[in-house]
């Protein structure tokens, strides 16, 4: 059994090393080998970590050097880089947030911090392990997908070069693992800000005007999150002398200024998770190449924000802060979903959907009963896999049809059957039983009985998500070609990663009862308040329902046997069909082409119309969140 040191080194340190090597040796074969080797190592290490009996590690030395000092120095280097880019992009907001952070860090490190801390620098709980596995498996698949994707991408748009792209992409995996396993708050802060920088560098990859603008937006907003985080750390250390998660969460529900520090942490988490009103940076981040969107902005980095709030849940249990966090999450769930209805840009729909689902997860964390925590954990896993699959699918589609608008994906089944079906499956997995997302929502709704505003918002939000997913899935199938469509060509690595993620979605669906039992048996450092039990979904019913779905598919396929010989019936238009597909003989015997579009309900849910009100509502709620600490 490899020892814990080695596992941690592989999980956190190896990606950093591999990333820098990618940059230092900018050759394609080297890159491919590095990506595969790192991904394999990460996947293995994460599985080994689960089987470890220990759940903390002193983490204060790296090959003999004092790691705490290294992190201290690295913190300042990181802030220096942020300020450098702020100057480069001439962004006042980046400079202000960066300088404020630097000021706080100087104050904390040089004037306040005592020495001889005894708490372990790395310590983790169930949720950390779950997200580490997601980062190492889903993240690896996305990195592998990125190899052929970026090859095609850079033939259209050179951007800042593939070596730099892959350096940041791989390095990011290490930063995520570090963030998840950290116990010391300053270590956490370092990895948190490292992911901010990675996000900035990746969004700006294309190096055109919109990328520069949006990456700067992401940088200052996430910097603001870092400022909240550092402010919370400073306040907490001044008032209580605590500098680690374990010390913080072992005291049970807090009050007064320490709770204010926790509120600041939660705000930082909400900025990272792009909750309302901070969603602007995630929407802007959609200009980045698809692997970035899939990895950072749906599966992993935004989960870091949610993870932070989850880790702190013992601190705000049974307080008003917990309730307010639940309301804020539920509000984002509804309003971000509503904003998704009004969108026709595919990646923006996915972005709003991500924001919305993260809000749902935060709402569950705020409710804080055992079943709500289970729902949050389940949603984190299922969302990461399904959303990653959707983004990768959209990326493949975009490279084929050169458009992101879902209206251009109408009838995609006729042109790209493989990818279209994968996306229909992924969209269905977000809203239908027996897939886990729906089971998570079900558990969340039952848990929300204790918190009426959340229950109402969950009911609304659930209907809203059905609307925009069913609309998209339906459109993909809306093909006129009667003939059996031919499978589109696709690079092998892209196809295999898509297939593996589909297998993951299906395997997770089948394994749900087992996963639920596993969740309750893993070592936990999470307490929970008592509430409604987990809804009873016996194994028998679960598999019976799955069997019915398979039966329906079988019967449907059998019904098609006669169709092969006779052909499909023609569609019903307003007149006789001409020989052209989608055309009929209209008035004056002139052929009329059938045009169809979709409801986007811009009058009600359009981005321009709704964003202002949504942000105002969210700002009021967050102000109450902070003020309510003292109530």
């Amino acid at each position: 059994m490899p020892d814990l040191n080695l596992i941690l080194l592989v999980l956190v340190g190896l990606p950093f090393a591999a990333g820098f090597l990618c940059l230092a040796l900018p050759f394609k074969p080297v890159r491919v080998v590095l990506v595969f080797a790192t991904c394999l190592a990460l996947a293995t290490a994460s599985v080994l970590l689960i089987r470890q009996p220990f759940v903390d590690h002193p983490g204060d030395s790296l090959f003999g050097a004092d790691l705490r000092t290294i992190i201290q120095v690295a913190d300042f280097l990181l802030l220096g880089l942020i300020l450098f880019y702020g100057l480069l992009r001439k962004s006042l907001l980046v400079l202000l947030t960066g300088l404020a952070q630097a000021g706080l860090l100087v104050y904390l490190e040089f004037f306040k911090l005592g020495h001889g801390h005894t708490h372990p620098a790395f310590a983790w709980n169930t949720i950390s392990l779950i997200i580490v596995v997601i980062v190492c498996f889903v993240g690896s698949l996305i990195c592998i997908y990125a190899l052929p994707y970026m090859k095609e991408h850079s033939s259209h748009q050179k951007g800042l070069g593939q070596p730099r792209f892959f350096m940041v992409l791989i390095l990011f995996l290490g930063a995520m693992n570090g963030l998840l396993l950290a116990n010391d708050l300053l270590y956490f802060y370092f990895f948190f800000e490292a992911t901010t920088l990675c996000s900035f560098l990746l969004i700006g990859h294309n190096n055109d005007e919109i990328s520069r603008k949006n990456s700067t937006l992401a940088l200052w907003m996430n910097s603001l999150g870092g400022l909240f985080l550092l402010g919370g750390i400073t306040l907490l250390y001044e008032k209580t002398g605590v500098l680690d998660f374990q010390g913080l969460t072992s005291q049970g529900p807090l009050s007064g200024l320490p709770l204010l520090a926790v509120a600041l942490f939660c705000l930082a988490g909400m900025v990272k998770a792009a909750q309302l009103p901070f969603q602007g940076w995630l929407l802007g981040a959609m200009v980045a190449p698809t692997p970035t969107s899939a990895l950072l902005h749906s599966s992993t980095m935004v989960k870091a924000g949610v993870y932070l709030i989850f880790r702190l849940s013992p601190c705000f249990m049974t307080t008003l802060l917990g309730d307010t966090i639940a309301w804020a999450g539920a509000l984002t769930f509804v309003l971000a979903g509503a904003l998704a209805i009004g969108q026709s840009n595919g990646k923006k729909i996915l972005a709003y959907s991500t924001v919305s689902n993260l809000g749902l997860i935060i709402a569950c964390i705020g409710i804080n009963t055992l079943s709500a925590q289970l729902a949050a954990g389940a949603l984190i896993v299922f969302h990461a896999v399904s959303k990653g699959l959707l983004f990768l699918g959209v990326g493949a589609v975009e490279q084929n049809i050169h458009s992101r608008d879902v209206e251009d994906m109408r009838g995609l089944y006729g042109r790209m059957p493989f990818t279209a079906l994968i996306m229909v499956l992924a969209a269905a997995s977000m809203i239908l039983p027996p897939f886990g997302m729906l089971l998570g929502k079900w558990t969340a709704m039952e848990a929300a009985v204790l918190n009426l505003p959340v229950a109402v918002m969950l009911a609304l939000g659930s209907a809203i998500t059905v609307f925009y997913w069913a609309r998209w899935a339906g459109m993909l199938l809306s093909s006129e070609t009667g003939a059996k469509p031919t499978r589109e060509p696709q690079p092998l690595l892209m196809r295999s990663t898509l297939v593996m993620l589909v297998v993951a979605v299906l395997a997770l669906a089948v394994a749900t009862p087992i996963l639920v039992r596993l969740f309750f048996n893993l070592p936990k450092f999470m307490t929970a308040i008592s509430g409604p039990a987990v809804p009873p979904l016996g194994d028998f019913i679960f598999y019976a329902l799955g069997g019915l779905v398979l039966l329906g598919l079988l019967l449907g396929l059998m019904a098609l046997f006669g169709v092969r010989k006779k052909g499909l019936a023609t569609l019903y238009y307003s007149g006789a069909q001409t020989t052209e597909p989608g055309e009929y003989m209209g008035p004056m015997n002139k052929p009329v082409k059938v045009l169809a579009s979709n409801y986007y309900l811009e009058g009600l849910f359009g981005e321009k119309r709704l964003t202002l009100w949504a942000n105002l509502a969210a700002i009021c709620l967050l102000a109450f969140l902070v003020a309510g600490v003292f109530l």
Partner: protein, 283 residues
């Protein structure tokens, strides 16, 4: 074997029969209200049998799958409802079927079918929150999410959840495809979209969709019946009473646009539910 164990199986067979009879009575009564003779009572059964006898010539490869899945989901949800399962699970299984109906309509892109599919999605958007909130209201009133708790409740639940019952009325109107909210596929033959979401469903697949609709009717009426389930005759009173009211509303109103439907369902319906549940919580 006790009745409770056999009930879901009995319901599985009896529900389409009941649904068909309800549909027949509906057509007869509506016709009489409109000074017409109306079709025979068993006409819906004749229609379904006729459709089943037809050849399967779908206009899209997805229609057979979608119609089967819709049928299986609807029948399964009725089975689970009478089997005493969690009401939210029952609803989500039914929602699976509703999604398949829409997906099938989308897959055959005739303009009537496409618009009908989208209007069906808008209908789902309107009634889903109301039904979920009804179930949550039932939990607050009776302490459980399943039918057993509702049936075990000593007093009529409508006394505790009057406003929720009114909001459920909106969902009932939409689900039964009655005016003023029958925008996607009206229950009757007056329709500006040929047959809306069902346009491209034909032959045996339309028969499956019709049977699924009967199952769904039984399900939603079952949910209504929980509001006064103290004796067998009270169930009949509330179910037949609600259905009669729906028929009257259907004949009195014209079809309204989706904005009206969403406004009524969300604006009025959700407000009613929230007010009722808040009263229950703070009482």
């Amino acid at each position: 074997m006790s009745l409770a164990k056999l009930l879901p199986f009995i319901a599985l067979v009896a529900a389409p029969v009941a649904g068909g009879l309800i549909a027949g009575m509906d057509r007869k009564l509506t016709a009489r209200l409109q000074s017409r003779q109306g079709p025979p009572l068993l006409q819906p059964f004749y229609d379904v049998l006729k459709l089943l006898a037809k050849q399967s010539r779908p206009s899209s490869v997805w229609l057979p799958v979608c119609s089967w899945l819709y049928f299986l989901a609807a029948s399964c949800s009725v089975f689970l409802f009478f089997g005493g399962a969690d009401l939210l699970l029952v609803f989500f299984v039914q929602a699976f079927g509703a999604f398949c109906l829409v997906a099938g309509a989308y897959s055959a892109p005739s303009p009537y079918s496409l618009v009908g599919a989208q209007r069906e999605l808008l209908q789902i958007l309107a009634y889903e929150p109301l039904i979920i909130l009804t179930v949550i209201g039932l939990k607050l009133a009776t302490g459980g999410f399943d039918t057993a708790s509702a049936l075990a409740h000593p007093a009529p639940i409508i006394m505790k959840l009057p406003l929720v019952f009114l909001a459920l009325g909106y969902a009932l109107t939409v689900k039964l495809r009655k005016s003023p909210f029958d925008i996607s596929a009206s229950h009757h033959a007056h329709q500006e979209l040929v047959r809306g979401v069902y346009t491209e469903y034909a032959g045996p697949h339309l028969a499956l969709a019709e049977l699924a609709h009967w199952y769904e009717t039984v399900l939603i009426l079952g949910l209504v019946s929980l509001f006064w389930a103290t004796a067998w005759w009270t169930i009949l009173v509330i179910v037949l009473g609600s259905y009669l009211v729906e028929i009257f509303i259907d004949n009195m109103t014209a079809r309204l646009s989706w904005q009206w439907m969403l406004g009524a369902a969300w604006g009025i319906g959700i407000t009613l539910c929230t007010a009722n549940m808040a009263w229950l919580v703070f009482k």
